[in-house]
Symmetry: C2
Subunit: 394 residues, 2 copies
Amino acid sequence: MTPSPQSFDSAPTVSERPSVVFGLDQPLVTDGGGSIAPLTIGFETYGALNSARSNAILLCHALTGDQYAASVHPVTGKPGWWDVLVGPGLPFDTDRFFVICSNVVGGCMGTTGPASINSATGRAYGLDFPVVTIRDMVRAQAMLIDRLGIDMLFCVAGGSMGGMQVLQWAASYPERVFAAMPIATAARHSSQNIAFHEVGRQAVMADPDWRGGRYLDEGVRPEKGLAVARMSAHITYLSEQALQRKFGRKLQARAAPTFSFDADFQIESYLRHQGLAFVERFDANSYLFVTRACDYFDLAADYGGSLARAFTGAKTRFCVISFTSDWLYPTSASRAIVHALNAGGASVSFVEIASDKGHDAFLLYEPDFFATTRGFLESAARARGIAPVTARRS
Amino acid sequence: MTPSPQSFDSAPTVSERPSVVFGLDQPLVTDGGGSIAPLTIGFETYGALNSARSNAILLCHALTGDQYAASVHPVTGKPGWWDVLVGPGLPFDTDRFFVICSNVVGGCMGTTGPASINSATGRAYGLDFPVVTIRDMVRAQAMLIDRLGIDMLFCVAGGSMGGMQVLQWAASYPERVFAAMPIATAARHSSQNIAFHEVGRQAVMADPDWRGGRYLDEGVRPEKGLAVARMSAHITYLSEQALQRKFGRKLQARAAPTFSFDADFQIESYLRHQGLAFVERFDANSYLFVTRACDYFDLAADYGGSLARAFTGAKTRFCVISFTSDWLYPTSASRAIVHALNAGGASVSFVEIASDKGHDAFLLYEPDFFATTRGFLESAARARGIAPVTARRS
């Protein structure tokens, strides 16, 4: 059943967020040989699908992101994570494009994940949830896109783990992706990336309230371990320069050091806050699964070790973007993607944005990033024959 | 009482390692206003003090190092942490120099620290131990050097937190330091440095077996938390390139990923091993205290915000060394030291060693580092009038 183009154009309230359900007869079979059924996919949409069904953009969220790219987050009450880029008149112009963003499989914001009820047991999956891959996440998204009646996406875009999904989309479904924007990402997780993720997982698993992953059954949550994991990861999202500029060695609401283990420094207070805020909105087991999916990501490995082969003959237009101070997914990782795309004969533009904001730059307002995104999408939209906006809605 | 020059020339067995004790009448008064008495300082020496007492070198160890710079570690059975640099015929030539290395105050290898018995209570100090600073560590070392009857050290050398102690020595006791080698270090801890330390502390404190710091009284140890802290820190000691070269995405004793949370990747197995090995030899509260000492280090702050003023008129000869791939204490931090030394009118040479081994390069055999150290010490020894070695001992 194909919904009408208008059916996702209204902003639902929290309790009636859109989702689709795939039944026991439509399992998601995972790379690891697991099977997820039923599968619910929570998603948000912005703008309207045009009658040619040619203007759909899929946004892929990062590790701890969700479908609330441009809507107020139902748990935190904060603006969407790409609020600066998605909306009327913005680069992802919702007056022109139909923007879709779904929560990844394994997540915890409406899509089936380890905190969901396993229909086979009547209890939360916990570690019985299959270890999923980036390709599994993309398979689930393709099921959603099918359900929405969209054959070809105008664009797939995302940063960090979202960028991995973009690359996987272009490799798995080249005929369904007109344009692709992998941002601040890599075609494979590096040893250092895996190392930081492993520290986070060990922090969660070291918390006795993790209970071997069965904490939901036992009415507890490994909040301390998850907070430590988040604190550790958070450092990697920022550049040394950004930390120095923002916090330096400034003291937190005191004139002199206390010679104690209190949060004397603002950076300590900030990190502790990041940890505490995170556990309010994220499931610890989901954190294990999404970090693991990244670790397993090595697109070339699926193509005989050749990343170029993943993109051979691709007609997709690519715009690869990196940020100078991103040391988690450095420009060298983006260059490797660009080289492979060139070797595969793909159409690719590559922009390294000067920014001192580190990996998180892709979530922030950076004028050059903004302009690059707008320019790429406008050019691609012309090529795709998507009508420009003639008059703004009030 | 001054010991004879020969009295520290023999290698004692583990049970009779040298130490000095300062009684209740000689407290170490700390920057934070605390007082440590009695104070035991565990130390090792190599080589012999000459009759002019002019050939003593003090080595300052890094965060989790100890006095076993060139002796087999009594707990791990491993070679000393600077075994490559310290010994007969090596740059720190024990045929020529009298090399001293002591465990820092707050440590856990023979010098008084939080695991020591507090004479006021008869229990382990725990968090009742005063929060110490780098300057407190150096004060304790100066007490040891006094006790050894040495007025002026020929050289003070060390990397990382050891380098901070070197800078503090040169600032606090300029007339007692003929030559100084601050290596892979900084004159102040950056926001990012503090952030990584805070994650480690939070990991320790999140472990319920930490028991508010009173774990020794209760017969437990926060091993899981301390292991996570070590894993997190260990990543920062290595460069991304070194990790990629050494581990890459290689799997650990398996042909294919298991789609699980086992240590599929060699880097995961390696990190877990690092965490487990560390808790065998290190006290969790000591980890809190030594990381805190680094965080509080900001040498310029003690001199009205001017690092140059810390070194004004210094007659000490400096050799500042950094490593290209060290992102924890990057070359820019060493350059800041060099600029201050130049501004203060000090004699300084600066060498940035090309290495892809990250921060840990200062603990490894790097030919250029080796040659730089040898050259600097030989030149300084000539200037100090320390006789060359005429014949090697068998």
